[in-house]
Symmetry: C2
Subunit: 218 residues, 2 copies
Amino acid sequence: MGVRKLYGSLDSPDTIRALASLNEHKLDFDFIPIDLKSGEHKREPFLSMSPFGDVPAYQDEQLTLFESRTVMRFISHCYFTPDNEQVYEDPRLQGIAAEWIDIEDHQFDPPASKLTWELVLKPKLIGQPPDSTVVAQEQLKLAKVLDIYEKRLAESNFLGGHKYTSADLTHLPGLYYLTGTPVDQLFEERPLVSAWKKSIMSRPGWKKVVAMIEGVQA
Amino acid sequence: MGVRKLYGSLDSPDTIRALASLNEHKLDFDFIPIDLKSGEHKREPFLSMSPFGDVPAYQDEQLTLFESRTVMRFISHCYFTPDNEQVYEDPRLQGIAAEWIDIEDHQFDPPASKLTWELVLKPKLIGQPPDSTVVAQEQLKLAKVLDIYEKRLAESNFLGGHKYTSADLTHLPGLYYLTGTPVDQLFEERPLVSAWKKSIMSRPGWKKVVAMIEGVQA
């Protein structure tokens, strides 16, 4: 049994963000499924780890963390090696990389999460069809965000800078869920965004996460 | 003229967060007001600094940043001195402090921002009264968040750990705007939250921000 544990659900984009970071850094961990349908995340003992009742929760021998972007930031700062260094030592370069984590959180995630719910999770988890008005509204919002991403990727290989960082990785849950939905077109229409999406989704650490999700679903 | 510039509005909680961080670290800077009413933040030249059209934007000789929590994180990592060190060197302690920045962002800020809009900014900026249904709903949400804060402050002097960090500072805009509104009672009812609020609002760096806001309004 490993010393690191991740408690969460493979139907939770936030859990998947933490899984992506653990795998990118080639860390051993135990994954402990939390049953969202029965509300296991809103009861003890889960609440002792994550007092707001949100998955995932990360635990090692010394600390517990429960915000997915915090888990990702912590792992990238604590476990960087020459192979998978996702942070910059220069605080200015790191400042820009960290900015793109907040941009994902505040600009990309709101429409991407709503689209993921409507197009993927709502039909799957509660058997209801997408609300087409919400889908249309959120696609418009996401398109505007992606226009700015296209400009950013014209000046930089990755969103956070010249190398792959958490600023890119943090987008993987949204990109994964929206692949195969009508939203794909928004990515495909923008050549640099499309190439970036393909590049970050082909990383070995991410492929392990996909195998995990699809293994459970198979 | 200083080398650092902050572009923003004193009616913007995000601008005030960045001002709090600059003043906590005793940094010189020029404040350049952006007129939100006329939409200056949605036009060039501001958009070149902040492509999503959000205030504030921070600029020094080497970089531009535009997410307020990014500006705060950057300043705390770049300019720490023994007097105002807001970060931990140990990545585990820093992980916990960083977690409480995300908690403010995802748990405290949504109800606090809606209450600030309804009770303070909406009457002031567009002359409309608060929507009492929204106020009641958001107060309930904020009360639940503050219950968890009360427990946290029973085990730790500050939210992020034993010392004052950005995890506390990031709450100042919400605490400031809600002081003097009916929401104050939610803070007062919780002794540790109430003592924490008084303590962080009495810091010299924060008092300079209040003097700036009230100087403009006077």
